[in-house]
């Protein structure tokens, strides 16, 4: 029988050993490595981190009233696409302009989003983990919107058409 604090220490030890043997990285560790290797622009990452501190860490509201939580690791995961690291505000824009939410497995949901940037229409798919928390977000095109419409499950929410 182990004492509770010994259990905690044991858990951490096992976790550390497993992480080291497996070689996987958290999104933060990966971005830090890419910055060190010079394959990601430091200025862009710093801009994204500033946006996260000022805005994203407090959550972003979807049009249905739900607030999507975004951890720092979720930010690092999303900005790997240069279309996001050059415009990290697109994470908030995508969430704020969701027009349809569908059910997925394990309590996750798929949201499709459309917004306008300087006369150009952008589309995104946002995958939400239970909470809701941002699981992933990708800029897509019309062809893929149709693909996601086929793939997603039951429609849970849809923005009303404006007259």
């Amino acid at each position: 029988m182990l004492y509770p604090n010994a259990r905690t220490r044991l858990g951490q030890t096992v976790a550390d050993r497993e992480q080291a043997s497996f070689g996987g990285e958290s999104p933060k560790e990966r971005v830090e490595r890419l910055l060190g290797e010079g394959t990601m622009p430091r200025r862009a990452v710093e801009q994204a981190e500033r946006l996260w501190r000022e805005r994203l860490q407090h959550g972003v509201e979807m049009p249905n009233g739900e607030i999507v939580r975004i951890t720092r690791n979720d930010l690092y995961h999303a900005i790997i696409d240069p279309r996001i690291w050059r415009h990290p505000e697109r994470i908030a824009l995508a969430i704020a302009h969701v027009f349809e939410i569908r059910a997925l497995k394990q309590g996750r949901r798929q949201a499709l989003s459309r917004w306008n940037e300087g006369g150009q229409e952008l589309l995104a798919v946002v995958i939400l983990e239970g909470g809701p928390r941002l699981w992933s977000m990708h800029v897509i095109n019309e062809k893929r919107v149709r693909r996601y419409n086929r793939a997603g499950g039951e429609v849970l929410w849809k923005q009303s058409e404006r007259p």
């Binding site: 182990l2 858990g11 096992v14 240069p82 996601y148």
Partner: protein, 119 residues
């Protein structure tokens, strides 16, 4: 045959896994759901005009629960993690899934106060 140099990004508490092709860091990409499953996608490189180039930037999936192996496309080049032999994409992902599932079981056992075997 030339291999794809790969790394793994994983966020265990939400089972968000990505196998990245390291030589394509900095490429824009679009997700292509694997077998109509939005929780598993090939990440396909696109050029500045948003046209697909035919190269795969990565694979994003909820790996612990993924079971649609028959829907995973066969790619031309094997993928290689550091310290591993080059493997076809499905073989590599199956091996990683096995290891991650074992890891999760060991962590849960450790949190319950049951010691995991050494070695």
């Amino acid at each position: 045959m030339e291999t794809v140099r790969a790394t793994i990004e994983w966020t265990p508490e939400i089972d968000r896994f990505v196998l990245w092709a390291e030589d394509l860091v900095g490429s824009a990409f679009v997700p292509e759901p694997i077998g109509d499953d939005p929780l598993a996608s090939l990440l396909l490189e696109v050029d500045e005009d948003e046209r697909e180039t035919g190269r795969v930037v990565g694979v994003e999936m909820a790996i612990l629960e993924f079971d649609r192996w028959g829907d995973l496309p066969t790619l031309d080049r094997p993928w290689q993690l550091r310290g591993w032999e080059p493997l076809p994409l499905d073989a590599l992902l199956k091996r990683v899934q096995r290891e991650l599932r074992q890891r999760q079981r060991r962590l849960k056992a450790a949190q319950r106060g049951v010691s995991a075997p050494e070695g």
